[in-house]
């Protein structure tokens, strides 16, 4: 029997490679959701991992670091917050 495919629809799901079942400590929204200022999750509202091992929505942690009272510290462990390059989180390069 020969089958001729006329048309198909594909569906995909995604999630960040880290943080399976966790929320951003700052906005308390799931990592796969958006920070409070964004509308669409994903590359537009990415995550940032600290060298200390704590993750946040990038917009959330940047807002905190901007505050003078943050003293540049991670909200979780109060170590100096330095973000690390995480290939799993990097935006895919456009083809």
């Amino acid at each position: 029997m020969k089958v001729k495919i006329i048309k198909w629809n594909s569906v995909a799901t995604w999630r960040w490679k880290i943080a399976y079942d966790d929320v951003c400590g700052i906005c308390q929204v799931h990592f796969d959701g958006t920070c409070p200022t964004c509308k669409y999750p994903g590359d537009d509202c990415s995550l940032l991992s600290g060298k200390c091992g704590h993750n946040f929505h990038m917009h959330c942690i940047v807002e905190w670091i901007k505050q003078e009272s943050s003293k540049g510290q991670c909200p979780m462990c109060r170590q100096k917050f330095e973000w690390k390059d995480n290939p799993a989180l990097a935006a895919p390069t456009p083809a």
Binding site: G25, I26, T37, Q67, S69, P75
Partner: protein, 249 residues
């Protein structure tokens, strides 16, 4: 925009507090309405303290910048405590000011307040009169704190706490210096270690140093608390601690 985001988090936090019945913490919009930037919360006074059996109501104002700035909390219930103004209910607690972090929540802040009631810190007072009474006459402090709890916080007239005080042998000696309950003594003692393991600190105390100075030296050298567990210190750290202890009288 920003304010609706803030409200979303507050609403979530309130739902979280409501679903947690074990902590006995209550929180709701102050005016019963939809304004979530002004809340009223309450928690029970911690056991084995003069505040036991009382209910403490806290007024909470949530700033526009929340959670990047701390909620502004003060006690609506009057209480006798060195870190709370006996007149205005204003609170002196670092987690509600300089040590605030956006991952803290209204619930965690209320738990910190509850714990503040168990561990008064007269050296960093909000109310100087209360603090000096706690240091000079702890028995009188306990009595007044209890009277205020009964009068203002609806604490019952007798609790297990008062039985402990009444039966503590030191209470029968009129001029005794240490007229605080055993539990209170143990807790004050534990507080002096500031989260360090007792045996770890005591190895230095046994050399003849005061506990507070040893703990200070540990903090100065930035020794890991290791979650209160005992462990072997590296020789370099031992040296630093000893140097600190011997160097500064």
């Amino acid at each position: 925009m920003a304010s609706s985001n803030r409200l979303r988090r507050i609403a979530k936090e309130l739902a979280d507090i409501q679903s947690d019945t074990a902590s006995k913490i209550l929180a709701e919009a102050a005016n019963g309405g939809s304004d979530l930037s002004h809340l009223h919360a309450s928690f029970p006074g911690p056991p084995d303290t003069p505040y036991e059996g009382g209910t403490y109501v806290v007024d909470i104002q949530i700033p526009n910048e929340y959670p990047f700035r701390p909620p502004v909390m003060k006690f609506k219930t009057k209480l006798w405590h060195p870190n709370v103004s006996s007149q205005t209910g204003a609170i002196c607690l670092d987690t509600l000011s300089s040590a605030w972090s956006p991952v803290l929540t209204i619930k965690s802040a209320l738990l910190s307040l509850q714990s503040l009631l168990s561990t008064p810190e007269p050296k960093d007072p909000q109310d100087a009169e209360v603090a000096s009474m706690l240091m000079k006459n702890p028995e009188q402090f306990q009595r007044v704190a209890r009277e205020w709890a009964i009068k203002h916080a609806n604490a019952p007239k007798t609790t297990s706490w008062e039985t402990t005080i009444a039966h503590s042998p030191s209470n029968s000696k009129p001029k005794s210096q240490k007229v605080i309950s055993r539990e209170e003594q143990l807790r004050l003692e534990a507080a002096r270690y500031q989260g360090y393991n007792k045996d770890l600190i005591d190895r230095f105390v046994n050399m003849g140093f005061d506990i507070d100075r040893v703990v200070e030296a540990f903090t100065f050298v930035n020794i890991d608390k290791n979650n209160g567990e005992d462990y072997e210190l590296e020789e370099a750290y031992m040296g630093d601690i000893t140097a600190r202890l011997l160097g500064e009288p």
